[in-house]
Amino acid sequence: MPKIKLNGRELEVEAGKTVLQVALANGVYIPHFCYHPFLRISGNCRMCLVDIKPGPPKLSIACNTVVADNMEIDTENDKVKNARKAVMEFLLKNHPVDCPICDKAGECTLQDYYMKYDLEASRLGDPADKVKKQKRRRVGKNLVLDSERCILCTRCVRFMAEVVNDDCLVIKNRRDVAEITPFPGKQVDNPYSLNLTDICPVGAWTSSDFRFKQRVWFLESVPSICPGCARGCNTFLEKRRGEVYRMKPRVNEEINKCWLCDEGRLSYHCINDNRLTTPLITEANQKEATWDAALKKAAEIIKTAGIDLKVVVSASLSQEEGRAVVSLFKEKLGAKLFLHTGEPGWEDEFLRKADANANTKGLTDQGISEKVPDQLGGTVVVLEALSAKSLPAGMMPAVVIGPQVSEAVKTSKVALPAASYAETSGTFVNFEGKAQEFKQVLPPPGQALPYLQILSRLAAALGYKLAA
């Protein structure tokens, strides 16, 4: 355990760690652009220059200097501060400073550091002397690249090469006309491409999905879990005025580090779109109804079915919802439960699992494990979640409870609007058996209610009482 002095404070630190890691862990912030905890060290931005003794008289980069016994590190002396100002001036020399129209403004490291470490006026006399590079290039399905904003920290190049093994990005040219570009004929169409918008410290990489939708300082960030597959990546849902505008990864070293797949990230759209907001009763055609009428109708159907009742449960319902389902339908009504997982999707070695459901493992452990057969006779109740999986052809559900206007809802006799995972709280168990809680982000839309309320009201209509 080397003993070091950090800004005069004596510390005993873990051997093999870098000065930057040690400083961050001990509450001393050293500014940095190119360093990223989950990427290889590059050492090119020169923002993390600090004064280290013993050593050469010049400043050393904190990100690539391993701590050693008796090291004295000064991160705040005038020499260091001036070096930071110098790096900021160089970075801003050719930067367009188009913050008013940049999506990154508000969460841009360059902007933040300018306020914190620089605040000097530009010494570049004529803005026309800035180097011109390619702007607003669509370089992939979901990405737009602005090379003028780029500070060439190479985080994106390293992410593509090291994390997802897709060597599609490169820096072309030398000197101040260097710019990030996909290899000729290539696009950044990797299924993890949108992570570039997170790791880019400036507004060079922007998401075509999020561009110009919201200023980030208006967004409220709420922690959540991505229900897109069995991995259970940790996320933030960012909302404003009852609408979710984007999903961002939340650091969890054991599950997703700080990454997300594009499909999961863009799945937030289904929280906003195509929602079922009122109960429906279908006689000849679907009609909006009151909750009481719809519940009464549903109870009638279920009572009529008796023990012939079949319940198809989405594998994306939470643990709590699963327990209520078991309690009402299996224990009280004696119905047969089926777990609806849908067809397996794509899978890779990195994050994505073929099982595109949030809680397959948890519900299976609760005894809801039987697969939905191709033919299912009798009275069928379907419990759906967001991005509902299609039912086997020909199945005509009598009652559907779900958050979306799905195919099943359109063919049902009664449809009850449920809250999605974003509008309720609960627990998902991922494929490794890790239980993760998520919190309510938004109020349910329209008349939709959380599953637990719907099920207890349905139980009441059937003459039962569900345990809380």
Binding site: C45, I61, A83, V87, F90, L91, I151, L152, R174, R175
Partner: protein, 431 residues
């Protein structure tokens, strides 16, 4: 004086000096044979004792560098840096043109000293003739059994390769050279790890200059003391100086270290061109600080004396500047060069070199301001020492020394240029 001090250039005047027969006739490859009879550690020790210092510019003791190589069972590599790109430097080119076998023999000695089984010569891509000569020399050495599976029948295996660079100045920096040799973009690597720990192909590697390696056959053949007879106490041996600029007889000259600069100009180079007065000298390649005519008087060409005068011996590229030369133009040529050659990796160098070139370009066009000189100095200071490799320092060095030492000339240029009709110089030169 210089005649008896010929070590590196002793064969240069001979007919067919690049052929193995000529080299063998003057006792060639005896040193390599002798080295292979010695313990590898002793070879390194002799080179260290001889006081041979790296001739590429840094002046680090060559023997010490060899001793840094780890003694584990990983394959080791010798890289010879022949990417001679510093403006004003052309000494390695003549070694490779006129006596490539001295380089090959030196590589055998160095590889034996470090127990490396492969060596590469990374030659600047534009050096077509030197590349062909070195390749031919290696082929001849293979044919004689001096290279290959069992050199001199000793059982020691050594293969040498010539690698042609693709035209980047920065690839003369050792880690950029390693990247380039591996087929990657020639960006310098961050240290640590240093090349002796993880160099080319992630294996222990030593990078030496052509001239350093070419000096080793003499040292091994004649011993450390014989080499120390030349030069000074701390700067032992002889050195090639490539002299260019306003002299009557520019070229490459071998003189012992510590040789007076003015003698080099007046004797070897036969004086200033057309009797011009001396204005300034850049003593060690374009990146070293410029010396005024007054500073050149009584200056000796060795590492310590030049450092004391505020410059560096560098690669021994002496650029002689006669009275009448416009240093504003000269500085612009240099800033433009460094801006063009910055690899663009580190922020201060990428943006700073470009900015400096832009500023000097404006001055040349008559759009400059006197305050630009202070901005240039400030930028140069902000770049120095803050980057991965020394290219930023190399770019900052001339800016700082030109402006501080010849400030009056710069100010006069700026003030008078504004009044005249701006005409760009040189013709067709794009800034």
């Amino acid at each position: 004086m210089a005649d008896e001090a010929k070590i590196l250039s002793r064969n240069w005047g001979k007919p067919d000096s690049h052929k193995i027969e000529t080299y063998l006739a003057s006792g060639g490859y005896e040193a390599a044979r002798k080295a292979i009879g010695m313990k590898p550690a002793d070879v390194c020790q002799v080179v260290l004792d001889a006081g041979l210092r790296g001739r590429g510019g840094a002046g680090f003791p060559t023997g010490r560098k060899w001793m840094f190589m780890p003694k584990d069972d990983r394959p080791r590599y010798l890289l010879v840096n022949a990417d001679e790109g510093e403006p004003g430097t052309f000494k390695d080119r003549d070694i490779m043109r006129f006596d490539p076998h001295m380089l090959v023999e030196g590589m055998i000695i160095a590889c034996w000293g470090m127990q490396a089984n492969a060596g590469y010569v990374y030659v600047r891509g534009e050096f077509v003739e030197p590349i062909n000569r070195v390749q031919a020399a290696i082929d001849e050495a293979y044919a004689k059994g001096f290279l290959g599976d069992s050199i001199f029948g000793s059982g020691y295996k050594l293969d040498l390769y010539v690698h042609r660079g693709a035209g980047a100045y920065v690839c003369g920096e050792e880690t950029a050279l390693i990247n380039s040799l591996e087929g990657k973009k020639g960006n310098p690597r961050i240290r640590p790890p240093f090349p002796p720990q993880r160099g080319v192909f992630d294996q222990p590697t030593t990078v030496n200059n052509v001239e350093s390696i070419a000096a080793t056959p003499f040292i091994i053949a004649n011993g450390a003391e014989a080499y120390r007879k030349f030069g000074t106490k701390d700067s032992a041996g002889t050195k090639l100086f490539s002299v260019s600029g306003h002299v009557n007889n520019p070229g490459v000259f071998e003189v012992p270290l510590g040789y007076p600069l003015m003698d080099l100009i007046n004797v070897e180079c036969k004086g200033m061109l057309n009797g011009m007065r001396l204005k300034a000298v850049i003593p060690g390649g374009s990146s070293t600080p410029i010396l005024t005519a007054a500073e050149c008087q009584g200056l000796n060409l060795d590492y310590e004396s030049i450092a004391k005068a505020g410059s560096m011996l560098g690669s021994g590229a002496v650029i002689v500047i006669g009275e009448g030369t416009c240093l504003v133009n000269s500085l612009h040529v240099l800033t433009h060069f460094y801006a063009h050659e910055s690899c663009g990796q580190c922020t201060p160098c990428r943006e700073g070199t470009g900015w400096m070139a832009q500023l000097t370009g404006k001055i040349i066009k008559g759009q400059g301001k006197v305050e630009d000189l202070d901005l240039l100095l400030s930028l140069a200071n902000n770049m120095s020492g803050n980057t991965i490799c020394p290219l930023a320092d190399a770019a900052a060095g001339p800016v700082k020394s030109f402006i501080t030492k010849f400030r009056a000339e710069f100010e006069q240029y700026i003030n008078e240029r504004k009044e005249r009709n701006p005409s760009p110089w040189p013709v067709g030169f794009k800034n």
